[in-house]
């Protein structure tokens, strides 16, 4: 038998090597699955991992699309990672993302068809507030009633989804939409559109915000007192108390940041790539971002890489369907395997494997 022994400090070498090992293992397992499905395995892997970046035919398009797809994932995951480091488990980012989009879109649509430069910035602020307020519900319930925030934040996702349906078919429905559910197209209204800052670069305001947030998070965690408190609360709540950390304030702060960033992600998505509030506007970004946060080892740079990797499997997965006729389900299963391997090998970073000889 073998057993695990905790390393005194996480291994630098392994923390770099594990993602590569995981991707390699996924490629082997994926190749087996693809050949079982009767598809050329190497070609499938090349289409998923290499073509979106290097293809001469369409790489110029799919490269920026990686940013567009990864942007909201990174933005949400950064916010979540702060709380996760401090042992505060907000898993309801999906709901906060939805509420950000609804709040922001509603604030904008109330002024339609006014054209003014300040409408979009106003929507951004309201969207951020929407996500923040939604996250305050589990936060305050935790600080005042000691209610488990994992469960409340998750339950509020279902509530937000129902509110989204009600809004798309009711209050926010496009009056000129021929009776179909869905709001006006916000990306077509100049005052509310979230445009690409440089054409064909994929860099819309949401992506830019995501990268700025990454830098902020990096500085916060490495240089700022709050970052130190977060780390301390996660490692040893008792030590944190002695160091003067107010646990309630920390819960409110971490949940607030996570909710606000998720709300921003929702707002940038609804005014840009998605374009409108529709009944199924949320496409699981909030949940995928939790995975991204862990794949990125809760580290800002890691999260950027993890977000891009997830985006790559989405875009490459579509290409594999298109070019090789792989079923969509095989891509889902493939993504699942990639996540399993990435989560599994992380153990090598923090633990040493010891072989036990003899008894026990």
């Amino acid at each position: 038998m073998f057993s695990l022994e905790k390393r005194k400090t996480p291994s630098k070498a392994w923390s770099l090597a594990t993602p590569i090992l995981a991707v390699a293992l996924t490629m082997i397992a994926g190749a087996i699955m693809f050949s079982l499905l009767g598809k050329p395995p190497l070609e499938a892997l090349r289409t998923i991992f290499i073509d979106p970046i290097f293809s001469e035919q369409f790489g110029a398009y799919s490269r920026p699309q990686l940013l567009v797809k990864a942007g909201p994932l990174i933005l949400i995951a950064i916010g979540l990672s702060l709380g996760f480091r401090a042992g505060i488990w907000n898993i309801g980012a999906e709901g906060q993302y939805i509420m950000g989009a609804i709040f922001g879109a509603a604030a904008g649509l109330a002024l339609y068809p006014l054209e003014a430069w300040w409408i979009f910035p106003m929507m951004v602020i309201v969207g951020c507030l929407g996500g923040l307020l939604w996250a305050m519900i589990p936060a305050i319930l935790r600080t005042h009633f000691n209610t488990n925030e994992i469960l409340v934040s998750l339950l509020l996702v279902y509530v937000a989804e129902e509110i989204l349906k009600a809004m798309a078919t009711g209050a926010l429905r496009n009056p000129d939409g021929g009776g179909f559910p869905g709001s006006r197209n916000l990306s077509k209204w100049v005052s509310s559109q979230n445009t690409e800052i440089i054409a064909n670069s994929g860099m819309h305001w949401g992506v830019v915000t995501a990268f700025i947030t990454v830098i902020f998070a990096y500085v916060l965690l490495s240089r700022h007192m709050l970052g130190f408190h977060i780390q301390l609360a996660g490692q040893s709540p008792r030590a944190a108390k002695f160091a003067g950390v107010n646990p309630k304030a920390l819960v409110i702060t971490c949940m607030g940041i996570a909710g606000g960033l998720a709300g921003l992600a929702g707002l940038f998505e609804v005014t840009g790539p998605a374009g409108q509030i529709s009944t199924d506007f949320n496409s699981g970004y909030g949940f995928t971002a939790i995975i991204v946060a862990f794949l990125g080892r809760l580290h800002p740079v890691g999260i950027v890489l993890a977000g891009l990797l997830m985006a790559l499997t989405y875009i490459g997965g579509e290409l594999a369907q298109l070019m090789l006729g792989l079923p969509a389900a095989s891509i889902q299963a493939f993504q699942g395997m990639l996540l399993f391997f990435l989560l599994a090998v992380d153990v090598l970073t923090n633990y040493r494997i010891r072989m036990n000889k003899g008894a026990k």
């Binding site: 695990l4 209610t147 994992i150 339950l155 946060a293 079923p327 389900a329 095989s330 889902q332």
Partner: protein
Amino acid sequence: MDLSAINPAVLVASIMIAATPILLAALGELVVEKSGVLNLGVEGMMITGAICGFIVTVETGSPFLGFIAAAAGGAFLSLIFAVLTQYLLSNQVATGLALTLFGLGVASLLGHSYVGINPPSVPKLDLGPVSDIPYIGTMFLRHDAVVYFGIALTIAVWATLKYSRIGLVLRAVGENHDAAHALGYKVIRIRILAIMFGGACAGLGGAYLSLVRVPQWTEGITAGAGWIALAIVVFASWRPGVVLLGAYLFGGVTLLQLNLQAAGLAVPVEYLSMSPYLITILVLVIMSSRKGRASLSAPASLGHPFQASR
């Protein structure tokens, strides 16, 4: 509008059927959470059970073997989660979400050639003349065996947790794994068994959907039932008896609104659909704010990884 058209006895009977898949899955998840583990992959395990049960039933003609296969399929999938979280100490929330993604993909791959096939039907239990008793018979005595199995399992889980040694150990592990370990209990082994029990129950629940409630295989047949099961466990504050009630409530709300619509009543569907979740949050707040009643709140070690220090 004609509310008299709704027959309460039949409505109760339909609710019992509608509640069975989520009841089974929620009971399994309750045991998992009691052991201190949070597995968010219920939806993935349910749908895997749904297709495994369907394939075996169609191929062998035996729904009984189908349900066995469904339990095995769910348990097998949960084993991935168990190994990752218990041996390799991966994060439970992230691993559970990945499990759902993987399960949905695998199930639709397996089910590809089983679309549009009618499975052999699951027989109703023959209870003889008692099932003809007015009202009571209609409500409770004309179901298939799985419905009664769900109720029996509720009682079994309740009794086991409350009175047996296994239950005591399980709760000890969930409340304080370090203390349980110090007492000599094999925390990891107990948790793995609990996780597999949860997987098997979720698989059974899924198979009930594909073999009885629908009964056919379609992609995405669970349509979020696994997530509802998770909410029910919380609603019940980890008490098996209340899980039963919660399953009837959550299953009942959808059925009730469909019945009210059929009776011609204009129903604010979205608001009705979100009400069970809001009630659950309220229940959770009340439970957690009552101090000193630890039995009514979340297992203390829920979601925390355990590693034996040597």
